[in-house]
Symmetry: C2
Subunit: 358 residues, 2 copies
DNA sequence: GTGAAAGCGCTAACAA
DNA sequence: TTGTTAGCGCTTTCAC
């Protein structure tokens, strides 16, 4: 009696403390590890395991609340069923939206998404990538922060499927899908010119970031195309503070613009604040436009015309690209010859922040 | 000569294709796996490994670009140096801000953060938790979505350190740190009453979510305290659409409120849109307040008074709590007797959206 | 000072 | 139809 009780106690202690593995199930059912593993992996039929055996295993697994140890599986299979998403900052709504979409879509495909925030620093980004890589990740989606590319080349050397989103390096043979930042900025300046603006100032984000560079290039290209004599690009960071500071600076200059183009909505908020403080009314005394088309733009005192990036589309295509690569990797070692590099045209959402002065 | 060349070729092929493990280093340096491992783990001194040997290993590791395989380490150590962050949706800026802070702080402590988006669905949440759990996570920070708690109890049974953020279950013995939602709502109604408002309507978020319930309770408590005869709570979701719909509905009722309290900023945007469409001017014809204090509130046509949640503080405390638990776990099996359950008082940021009608 | 070998939990080639 | 065993890459006990 007492012994039975002690045994029971021991059982409970063990089952609650010790991990439940296929070995536990194997012992309890007096079946081999192989058989248990096969049943649990749904290949019982293939090995013609009897219904009886199969049921026994399944029942016991359920009773114990067995959860397969992915770490062990990864180590054995050299596969993790997880993909890494490395981005500059989750605090930026634009990126977190991407993260959300990627997460949902990949979850539906049975993958776990490991999101890692690089904090807009190249070093942290490399750290995140290395760390994720060390976990036998199946693939990676990256929004790169910096301008160095060695660690990315290392990735592709290692044969890890990688896709860039939003920001990219056209000189690397790594696929990317992004907004056509250049075209977006170009079209926006075009629109402003159509409304009679000839003095358009631009407040940019982080200078070394590809997407920012492309936008600035688009701005300059449009300025040149229209033979505008005025041009101005200030700033160096995708933050409201930067937008604020730079606008203050801009407004102190002798020659003032008639329109300000904020290269992100975070910058825009700072621009608006500065304009408000300096007593400029929008659009009467200053036209303002931006990049990103955040939801709240509709609700501002003056709804701001903005460039809408096809976030959802970008994320979807990137995932498709990545999964294709992963599957190709699994099937054989042959590399897909052509590297998909996709730019998607953004659209301008017109609101009320441009004054027609033509 | 030829043989040398072939060997060199073979070497390059192998080193680029095959993973570099301590075995590679061991073979190249003709040292045992043990020694290599020790040096790489920085315990060379402890085992009095000679400087010469140590240097040789380090040099070779560097030359090969060796990165330790975390999966194997995890399996062996039953430890992952990673913590899971499960939240309802990264698309919600409030949560993604938390994610960003948690990520940064834990990264500084040497942990990798695995963020998983539960998509505001309980099932997906359970899925995410199981999936992360199967990866030998060291601990978890969770913002729970649903109202079922079994999977959480399972977690604490298994001895996994868990901390809830923002939303919580006071009946579970799991630590949490959150805004005092109840008090926040209570104080806001108080403020409105001080400004002479007696008819305050409330547009709520997801009804079953703890934080929402607390806010609604706070609203009702304040309404009761001030003996207001009018009360109204509508809505069921933290979205702009919901806010929009519910406001439209609200404005069709015979008895109209003088103030609307949106229980989140996402809801607020919908409320503002509806009010605008119906021709209400803020604050003259309708006072509006909200919960969350998003950055853009300052820039709206009428800056909205809002309850600011101490996001950063919450995240910091939660991390501290979690790390303490993890360390306690590592040292011994004894459980810390008392469960820390912390509510932090929010502050009201007053802007211009409340009309004084007293 | 250094090394051999066991084992973390799992899968799959090979056996029976 | 089921089982034995090697090994994924790493750490650590025990041995020399």
């Amino acid at each position: 009696m007492l012994r039975d009780f002690l045994l029971l106690c021991a059982y409970f202690i063990l089952s609650s403390l010790k991990n439940i593995t296929i070995k536990t199930i194997s012992e309890n059912t007096k079946l081999s590890l192989t058989t248990v593993s096969r049943v649990l992996n749904g290949v019982a039929e293939k090995y013609r395991i009897s219904q009886f055996t199969s049921d026994k295993v399944l029942k016991e697994a359920k009773r114990l609340g067995y959860v397969p140890n992915q770490v062990a599986r990864n180590l054995r299979l050299q596969k993790s069923f997880a993909i890494g998403l490395v981005l500059p900052s989750l605090a930026n709504p634009y990126f977190s939206t991407i993260a959300s979409i990627v997460n949902q879509a990949l979850h539906a495909e049975g993958f776990l998404v490991l999101v890692s925030d690089g904090n807009e620093e190249e070093e942290a980004e490399i750290d995140a990538i290395t760390n994720i890589l060390a976990r036998n990740i199946d693939g990676m989606i990256i929004i790169p922060s910096g301008k160095n590319t060695e660690h990315f080349e290392m990735l592709s050397k290692k044969g890890i499927p990688v896709v860039f989103i939003d920001r990219y390096f056209s000189n690397l043979s790594i696929p990317y899908v992004a907004t056509d930042h250049y075209q977006g900025a170009f079209k926006m300046v075009d629109l402003l010119v159509k409304h009679g603006h000839k003095k358009i100032a631009c407040i940019q984000g982080s200078q070394h970031v590809m997407s920012n560079l492309e936008r600035v290039n688009g701005y300059y290209a449009a300025v040149k195309k229209h033979n505008l004599t005025y041009d101005y690009v200030g700033g160096n960071g995708f933050t409201a503070e930067e937008g604020y500071m730079e606008t203050k600076l801009l407004l102190q200059r002798k020659e003032k613009p008639t329109a300000i183009f904020a290269l992100s909505d975070t910058i825009l908020l700072g621009v608006l604040k500065a304009l408000d403080e300096e007593g400029y009314r929008i659009p009467d005394e200053m036209s303002v436009v931006s990049f990103d088309n955040s939801v709240y733009l509709d609700y501002l005192s003056c709804p701001v015309t903005s460039i809408s990036q096809p976030v959802s589309e970008i994320a979807q295509i990137a995932i498709r690209l990545l999964l294709t690569k992963i599957k190709a990797n699994a099937v054989s070692e042959k590399k897909t010859a052509d590297v998909e590099q996709i730019l998607i045209a953004p659209t301008i959402i017109q609101r009320k922040s441009i004054k027609d002065i033509s």
